[in-house]
Amino acid sequence: MIIEGEHTFKGPREVVYDMFNDPNALATAVPGMQKLVKVDDTHYEGAINLRIGPINASFAGVLSLSDENPPESCTLNIDGKGMAGFAKGVGKVHFTDLGDNSTLLKYAGDVNIGGTLASVGQRMIDSVAKSMIKSGLEKLEKTLEERWQQK
């Protein structure tokens, strides 16, 4: 499954980049995320509950960051597993400073899914992923607003 898109954040690039490196911010942004715990500087362990069509299941996994080039780009890797299958993906995230304190986020990734998730949920997973990203970005937008105002 190919996931790509872009989003403009109202906030300076450094703050946006930092937010993407903050597990707490990410944990609140992803719908159904039960926890996200930092293991080391680039690895987080998490648990998420997903509802995709007829599937309602929890997944445990690792989120890791690589190719960090703050504040311009980084790569997000996810590797999750649960009774309803697995998801393994790589996503490249770019941050472009648009001036006037706004930042353009571009993301492009490829996620492989397997098990029940694929065999029963594949028809729905595309739209579920899109709606999760949409609501996640909206939450991050709010988080950003709060953070930036605090600064």
Binding site: G85, G114, Q122, R123
Partner: protein, 781 residues
């Protein structure tokens, strides 16, 4: 040949119990103390197993045991080759990699079992699956057939040099020479997609090791109870008669239930003996899609060489056949494809090459049609392509090349699934098409109906195809017919029944010979304690092969009745005759003895026994044909296509069929109609789809679309020809798969014809609206 019972449209004897919900199916078997099994299946299509931790699952309340491959010790072994490859084809290569009962070290398809939980209930067993930690390192999956064939491909079996499962080349005549003589040569690349048997009842297995009797009783939804018994006895080191396999009523077969040596029938007997407990396993629908075999999935490169007038000079077909992760069923499917590609027409020069490849997908074994639909699809599509090239009418080019009755028996020069050179025994292939064109009013459609519809902006199209169905193959079947002391007759045979109506048609065969009421004949199929020789129900061979064995046994019993009655009635044998349920003296019906009484007398007691006693009014007989009998037919479909939505309505579907002598015309119609619906499903609804990582995307009826009532034509119009087969005394040919074979090519041809202005050149056997849209889109460009 129609008699008092044989050939009559008799209502089925088995219906009453099925209709009232009293028939016993596999899940209806309850044994006190019975445990339930559930499998953990791999989510990965191709992966190295790193760790399977079942410790938590073992602690789960209600769980009795959990096993992985390691726990089975030396018992874990790859299964036997259920069907060996034919040795008669010179120069053929075959690499046997048979099913493993449970993955060890590596998984090779998504859905392959990796652990099994035995618990007090199925609910608990499935709960405990969640406690198992399965850790594996995924490998790239082998999915694309042509890429899999390359030496550079990732390998499914590391110990083989490549993914080559088999390579078979057969040639009759000399294609390359024929090609030189040809006026036109047309080539195409064609695809036959994968479909499921999708019987409404999933598979199931119940086993009870009876320690005290030292007997293992197995209930299974198998099409092959006797091979299953042999397999289980062999694995468990028991003598065959310590294993009793019983098939209850089975909710449809359609091919995949022929498989043995799978996780359930290998592991559960061992576990039952170890735990000394009865165990039940029922497959759920998702498991059925993931881990019950399915079929088709071939890519063909074809070439047809013709003269200007449409006469075929030669045909060449090199095709890739997906066998899945293992090849336990040998080459039955692609061999059927080879034999059916050219079986209709006079084709003096034929080259055919099977490239069978291993992939990281579920194993391929026969599904209703079993290689035949692919062969017929390829040939019929090429006939369409040739007709276009030569600007001939599709019916005309077929008529020109169809075999004539006087050409039979015809040796084809191609060795088939029964390991002998194909012989087309009998038929009137042209007659089928003539009758079809009359029934469908082909001329009228072409000259009046279609032009008028086009004027009105409607997109009506017709497809006309011919086909054969190789049926009634060996090796053999047998039966025992016994008259009871109550005058009723019991018949036991080794095949099993999945809804074909054997309880009725076999009774008709017996009733005809013994002049008893059909309802007084009790047929027992698929209980190895009642009859323990035979092969199984496949290749449209039940009614023909077992039916002939039953006929033969009935004839012997009839002779015995006459001999015994002559003795007791004190008249010569030629003076006795069968009255209904009794034997009487010709011309003196008042002097008679009932069959029941005669049966009692045929069991001599003290003082009456002769030295060479053969007690009872009973006989056992077998039947083994030299080769299969070939049914034939022709099919026309008229579709009405909406080019905007690509909703397709089948306006008419006409099928003419010749299966030789008919035992029961009512049931014959049922067989044909059912197979047609499967063919319609295959043509426009059903398709098994794996993604590039080997994930099955169609594992429920939400994604795998089964044909429904509203998808059918208003009426399936069926015509019959009856050309007796010389291969059995009753002149029968099989019919079970017929309707599924011609439907996809007829449908595709009709769709092309309906959308004639788009000049489509459809290469796929399994369409859907979006595929047709893509074809139209590409064609416009």
């Amino acid at each position: 040949m129609t008699g008092k019972y044989f050939g009559q449209p008799i209502k089925r004897l088995e219906d009453k119990h099925l209709l009232s919900g009293r028939a016993k199916f596999i899940d209806d078997i309850e044994i006190p103390g019975m445990l339930h099994a559930a499998f953990l299946r791999s989510d990965y299509a191709h992966a190295i197993i790193k760790k399977i931790d079942v410790s938590e699952a073992r602690k789960h309340p209600g769980v009795v045991a959990v096993y992985t491959a390691e726990d089975f010790g030396d018992y874990w072994k790859p299964g036997p080759l259920q069907v060996p490859p034919p040795t008669a084809i010179k120069g053929s290569q075959f690499n046997a990699r048979t099913l493993v009962p449970i993955a060890k070290g590596k998984v090779r398809f998504s859905g392959e079992p990796v652990a099994i939980v035995i618990a007090e209930s199925r609910y608990i067993a499935e709960d405990a699956l969640e406690d198992i930690i399965f850790d594996a390192e995924p490998l790239p999956a082998v999915i694309d057939l042509e890429k899999a064939w390359e030496d550079t491909s990732v390998k499914v079996h590391d110990d083989l040099p490549s993914n080559l499962a088999a390579l078979v080349k057969q040639e009759a005549g000399n294609y390359e020479e024929a090609k030189k003589q040809a006026d036109v040569v047309v080539s195409r690349k064609l695809y036959a997609d994968r479909v499921a048997g999708a019987a409404m009842e999933n598979r199931g297995f119940v086993v009870n090791w009876d320690e005290r009797n030292q007997e293992m009783v197995v209930w299974a939804t198998t099409q092959a109870p006797l091979p299953l018994r042999i397999a289980i006895a062999g694995k468990m080191n028991l003598i065959e008669n310590q294993v009793r396999v019983i098939t209850p009523f089975i909710g449809g077969g359609f091919g995949p239930k022929i498989m043995t040596s799978q996780a359930d029938d290998v592991l559960l007997p061992w576990i039952s003996m170890k735990l000394n407990k009865p165990i039940k396993w029922l497959e759920d629908r998702r498991e059925n899609f993931l881990a019950t075999t399915s079929e088709r999935d071939q890519v063909h490169y074809c070439e047809i060489a013709l003269k200007k007038d449409g006469t075929i000079l030669g045909f060449k077909d090199v095709f890739y056949h997906n066998t899945g992760a293992y090849d336990p069923y040998g080459m039955t499917v692609p061999l059927n494809t080879q034999t059916h590609t050219v079986s209709n027409y006079r084709i003096p020069n034929f080259y055919t090459e099977i490239r069978m490849v291993f992939t990281n997908e579920m194993v391929v074994t026969p599904v209703r049609g079993a290689g035949r639909p692919e062969g017929v699809f390829v040939m019929e599509r090429m006939m369409d392509a040739a007709a276009k090239e030569l600007k001939m009418d599709p019916a005309e080019i077929r008529m020109k090349n169809l075999l004539k009755p006087e050409e039979f028996p015809l040796k084809t020069g191609i060795i088939g699934q029964d390991f002998v050179e194909g012989v087309l025994d009998s038929g009137d292939y042209k007659g089928n098409l003539v009758k079809l064109l009359e029934m469908v009013e082909y001329e009228k459609f072409r000259k009046e109906i279609q032009p008028q519809a086009r004027k009105e902006g409607k997109h009506l199209g017709i497809g006309v195809v011919a086909f054969t169905e190789g049926t009634a193959v060996g090796p053999y079947e047998g039966a025992r017919v016994t008259i009871g002391n109550n005058g009723k007759v019991s018949v036991a045979t080794g095949i099993s029944t999945q809804g074909q109506g054997h309880f009725t048609v076999f009774a008709q065969i017996v009733a005809e010979q013994l002049n008893v009421k059909v309802e007084d004949v009790k047929v027992i199929t698929g209980d190895t304690n009642h009859f323990h020789w035979g092969a199984g129900t496949f290749a449209s061979r039940g009614a023909t092969i077992a039916g002939t064995a039953i006929h033969n046994a009935s004839v012997l019993v009839r002779q015995k009745i006459f001999a015994t009655a002559s003795k007791f009635l004190g008249v010569p044998e030629d003076q006795v005759e069968l009255c209904e349920g009794s034997v009487c003296v010709k011309g003196k019906p008042e002097i008679s003895i009932s069959l029941g009484e005669l049966a009692g007398k045929a069991n001599p007691m003290r003082g009456a026994v002769e030295a060479d006693v053969k007690p009872g009014l009973e006989a056992t007989a077998y039947f083994a044909p030299p080769h299969g009998a070939t049914g034939s037919g022709a099919c026309a479909i008229i579709v009405d296509v909406d080019p905007e939505t690509l909703k397709i309505k089948i306006d008419r579907l006409v099928l003419v069929h010749d299966c030789g002598t008919v035992i029961n015309p009512l049931l014959l119609e049922g067989q044909i109609q059912g197979a047609i619906s499967m063919g319609i499903g295959n043509a426009f609804y059903e398709k098994i789809v794996y993604d590039e990582n080997g994930q099955l995307l169609t594992a429920s009826f939400m994604d795998y679309l089964m044909p429904q009532a509203t998808d059918m034509p208003n009426k399936m119009e069926i015509g019959h020809l009856h050309t007796s087969s010389p291969l059995n005394p009753l002149g029968m040919k099989g019919v079970g798969e017929a309707g599924a074979i011609p439907t996809p090519p007829a449908f595709v041809q009709a769709v092309e014809d309906a959308l004639i202005e788009y000049n489509l050149d459809i290469a796929d056997s399994n369409l859907n609206p979006s595929m047709i849209f893509e074809y139209m889109h590409r064609s416009k460009k």
